[in-house]
Amino acid sequence: MMRYRRKEVFLLVVEPVKKLQRPLKSLLPVLTLLILPNLAFAEDVLSAGDTAWMLTATALVLLMTIPGLSLFYAGMVRSKNVLSVMMQCFAITGMMSILWVVYGYSLAFSDGGSLNSWIGGLDNFMLLNITVDSLSGTIPETVFMTFQMTFFIITPALIVGAFAERMKFSAMLWFMAIWGTIVYLPICHWVWGGGWLSQLSTGPLDFAGGTVVHINAAVAGLVASVMIGPRKGYKKVLMAPHNLTFTLIGAALLWVGWFGFNAGSELAADGTAGMAMAVTQIATAMAALTWMFVEWLKHGKPSVLGIASGAVGGLVAITPASGSVGPTGAIVIGFAAGVGCYWGATVLKNKFNYDDSLDVFGVHGIGGIIGALLTGVFVSAGLGGVGFGEGVTMAAQLGAQAISVIVTLVWSGVLSIIILKVIDKIIGIRVPEEEEIEGLDITSHDERGYSL
């Protein structure tokens, strides 16, 4: 995906021609001569079709966080904490939106001048210079901005699952605000905003955010779950999901909304968007089935939590690949994600004994890494993908993928540790033990989830 707003004259010329080709494809030979003189000075032209899709895609990504992710997570905690996780997702939605408007969009996507390899500038501080008529490619810049905002919302919201049932609400807000600013915005700029990762000779492929969103969030979650420590009674008392109907519905809404996430990342309603949607569906289905069958084989029964987790793992894994691979790649990626995320959530976690409450790392971390790496394989035209860039080998591409994974792991991991340490020093990151026992709904929010 080319998210970097095209400003060079070259693109300005090419783009309208490309778009015009659609309705006018067959007119071109005849009209080219007439048109060209004008095109040389033309600006981007709005496509109502692309805009229609991107308005929809933006709504779909918001649907992923609230209600999707909220429900997915809410169902997995104990009933005394159900509101707390939903509240966290909702408050994050509000807060990240405002931060995005104030400086987030600008730092991620505007031109950072001499610092542009590292971070964007402040030209769009408070969305200055964005008007009703501003375009980004063939869609209004407002739409591009809002679409990207939804990514800035869901990424921190994903982290919530790792420290669910024990983190202080105020500390959570501080963490997300700072993490979003110093971890997410730079990485987003590096990958999609024209920063250094996108300028490597062989750039890593991350169509819809495998690294920026999922690995990024997963590492932060892992760090947080370790630093905050396990829930009281972890591995001793029953911490079964209190409402798996919510978890399944949440997974379903994530699935539906993810079409906006992946196919929307094309920023247009075209063949690539279509293929992105198709492979998203295929990989997700495959991963859901795979987890289900693996569990069935190993434990004798297929479970709702399993199939839902598998679906989410598949969605994560296809995310970076969705603009590059074909159906075959999607099936393999889905299969690998099903197996890998199952292993992440059931084996890996138990081996290292951290309490990543809702398996953010097991699903988004492992799924994200699998997807990022396999993108480097299945982009190959021979395997049904769109093909490597000019002169790029599979090894080179795999290397680029690995670099982007490692950079994300390190950057997000190290900074998350520092941020949490500081917040813990100043206000503390964990609720007192009695509050944890009584449940965060009553103690942090003076409310109860259900009085049926």
Partner: protein, 112 residues
């Protein structure tokens, strides 16, 4: 008067109630309870973590009756609720000193 309390399997509730009706018992108070006992619970599996849940859903029937009826009540509960499988439950009988009907203030057997 006696208070007969019976812990039975939930799906036997309807049968028990009918059996009690048949012998003229019209008042019953039912509570959903969880039982631990010889009957083994099921296991639940969540992302690889297996929990053995050893409480089982049961219902408790409480029936206040005249002393003379206690045996009949016990028999009819047994006949309705027994499946012969472990976990069928227990019947407890204790003494009741006083019964009052709130609506009328009647006491004793009249209140039943």
């Amino acid at each position: 008067m006696k208070m007969v309390s019976a812990i039975i399997k939930p799906f036997k509730l309807d049968d028990a109630r009918e059996a009690l009706s048949d012998i003229g018992i019209s008042g019953i108070t039912v509570t959903e309870v969880k039982g631990f006992g010889r009957q083994k619970g099921h296991s639940e599996l969540y992302r690889g973590a297996e929990y053995v849940v050893d409480f089982l859903p049961k219902v408790k029937l409480e029936i206040a009756v005249d002393d003379a009826l206690v045996e009949k009540v016990i028999e009819s509960i047994i006949s309705a609720a027994a499946t012969g499988k472990i976990g069928d439950g227990k019947i407890f009988v204790s003494d009741l000193e006083q019964v009052v009907r709130i609506r009328t203030g009647e006491t004793g057997n009249d209140a039943l």
